[in-house]
């Protein structure tokens, strides 16, 4: 019998291009903030689940073993979960297994990332995710798969670059109100269109930055959560699926693996009509078109219809379905695993009415966070309720 799981605390560090703090120190700061916000100490924590992206960024092998003391995991059952960019949302899913299964009543979930150590640019690490025989000899960069996917998406549905740029404008604008944000800014569609082309059709302002940072949440069983707070946020649905690395054999216009993950989470949470029942969403937005792509995969927009929804203002904070009210990866920053966890934190704060200037206008009761990763192949989804 599955037990109900709640989020009872959340913490986050600043997200910046280069942070002085080590991975251990960043982990400590986010974890301590999450504990403090829940009114707990480390003694109250029974297990720890951590998430971090490829070891190649830090140049530290066995990163999970390296940073665990910063996460308060010494002498406790600790596991590191990993599904590329999907890791941040997968980390609390790993925590959910710990608590829903009945193994533990409390679990600290921490996502940490330092991308800055790698030179000349963090992008370099992504070279090694491509097929070593058939793709790397071509001189790959991760930007290729995004620009190829963006082009295919635009082609299939007749979407314009200007329409996609609206997402960057919205998210960077939202991030102005996020105290951790790296790239909050009031920009225009024109600014995006005139920014330097990197991998056409992708331009500089279509992309989230590399970042350092950490974020954490604390999960508790129903019994413990109700003792701790009168505002638990229930982790009612979790879903995750992966496709193969044969990304050139897939329909790049539609993320089917995200649809499958979403349907798994909706079924578990009893969500029958996502567009009507989800009040606020934080889909993964490492690139502006990705938010649109994912809204469609999540069944929150019809295929090819997310751009119009954005133009109509539906996804603004005062809209009917606020999307990335945090500012997303485009605005808050993209320390890979920590960025996904930032989305979990945001939905937690939104559903508790604690998001301050970022609080969405509507009375949000049900929220969703989603991440994506690897070679166009990972979907991780959580449905949360107040």
């Amino acid at each position: 019998m599955r037990r109900r799981v709640a989020i009872v605390g959340a913490g986050i560090t600043l997200f910046r291009r280069r942070m002085l703090e080590s991975p251990k120190e960043l982990s400590f700061e986010a974890s301590k903030m999450a504990l403090d916000s829940a009114g707990l100490t480390l003694k109250d924590i029974q297990s720890v689940v951590s998430g971090s992206a490829p070891d190649a960024f830090d140049g530290v092998h066995m990163k999970g073993e390296y940073y665990l003391d910063g996460m308060g995991a010494i002498g406790k059952p600790h596991e590191r979960v990993y599904v590329g960019g999907g890791t941040g949302v997968f980390t609390p899913i790993g925590g959910w297994w710990n608590v829903a299964s009945g193994l533990y009543d409390t679990c600290l979930c921490v996502a940490e990332e330092k991308m800055s150590p790698l030179h000349p640019h963090p992008q370099y690490a992504f070279w090694s995710i491509f097929d070593q025989i058939l793709e790397r000899p071509l001189g790959t960069t991760l930007l290729w798969i995004f620009s190829l996917e963006m082009r295919r998406y635009m082609h299939k549905y007749g979407i314009k670059e200007e329409e996609i740029a609206e997402v960057a404008v919205k998210n960077k604008g939202n991030a102005v109100d996020h105290p951790s944000a790296q790239l909050g800014a009031k920009i225009t569609v024109d600014d995006v269109m005139r920014s330097e082309p990197i991998c056409e059709p992708v331009k500089r302002l279509d992309v989230s930055p590399p970042s350092d940072g950490a974020a954490a949440v604390i999960l508790a069983s129903e019994k413990v959560a109700k003792k701790l707070t009168d505002q638990p946020v229930w982790l009612d649905g979790v879903g995750w699926t992966l496709d193969s690395t044969h990304w050139t054999n897939r329909d790049l216009a539609y993320p089917e693996y995200v649809e499958k993950a979403a349907k798994m989470a909706y079924k578990m949470a009893g969500v029958k009509n996502p567009r009507k029942e989800i009040d606020v969403a934080e889909p993964y937005d490492p690139f502006d078109y990705k938010e649109l792509h994912h809204l469609e995969g999540l069944q929150l927009a019809g295929k090819g219809e997310a751009p119009q929804m954005t133009l109509d203002g539906v996804t603004q904070r005062d809209g009917d379905l606020p999307v990335c009210p945090s500012g997303g990866l485009l605005g808050v920053g993209n320390p890979i695993a920590a960025a996904g966890m930032m989305k979990i934190c945001e939905i937690f704060w939104q559903l508790r009415g604690e998001a301050g200037k970022r609080q969405v206008k509507k009375d949000a009761r049900t929220g969703l966070a989603q991440a994506w990763g690897d070679l166009m192949q990972v979907g991780t989804v959580t449905v949360m309720r107040s």
Binding site: R16, L20, Q123, Y124, R151, G213
Partner: protein, 170 residues
């Protein structure tokens, strides 16, 4: 955010501080070498590339013709059945004009990169490769392209034995 939290932890290091050497850092270069076995399916694929041919594997159950070839069908979860030579022509599924290289440094000449759906394989069976002998502004999705091979004596049994794909008839 949370009512109990007032301070956000973390200290940013600016690029100027890095340049001034204000913070101690340790620089380390890791240069391992790897030698990969290409595997059963891809070894054959590479051998055929050396002969100027593109080969696929067919699964008799779902009848898909798979490129890149694999010895098992991941959908039917059974061994694939037959080697099939497909054409060295295809269709541009999607493309990009890349102004940056692997380490994100700016390139002088952009790379024209594409997913090319290979003719003779099942629909949507594409491979990643480059385009050439074409103006970037003339590339379009759906464009028919053909492989431009290295000279036989220069081929190494590698994906780069195909230099790039060019528009058919150009």
């Amino acid at each position: 955010m949370s009512r109990k939290i007032t301070r956000y932890q973390g200290r940013e290091i600016t690029l100027d501080e890095v340049r001034e050497g204000k913070y101690l850092d340790i620089v380390y270069k890791f240069e391992p070498k790897y030698s990969w076995a290409a595997g059963v399916a891809i070894s054959r694929f590479l051998t055929e590339l050396k002969d100027g041919k593109i080969v696929a594997r067919k699964c008799y159950k779902c009848e898909r013709i798979l490129v890149p070839p694999r010895m098992y069908c991941e959908q039917c979860y059974r061994p694939t059945d037959e080697w099939i030579q497909v054409k060295d022509t295809g269709t541009v599924n999607t493309f990009s004009i890349s102004h940056v290289g692997t380490d994100a440094r700016r390139l002088k000449t952009p790379i024209l990169v594409a997913v090319v759906d290979i003719e003779g394989a099942s629909p949507g069976m594409g491979i990643l490769h480059k385009l050439g002998e074409v103006e970037p502004s003339k590339i379009s999705i759906g464009m028919k392209v053909q492989a431009v091979w290295k000279r036989p004596e220069e081929r190494q049994g590698a994906i780069t034995d195909i230099l790039y794909f060019k528009p058919v008839g150009s």
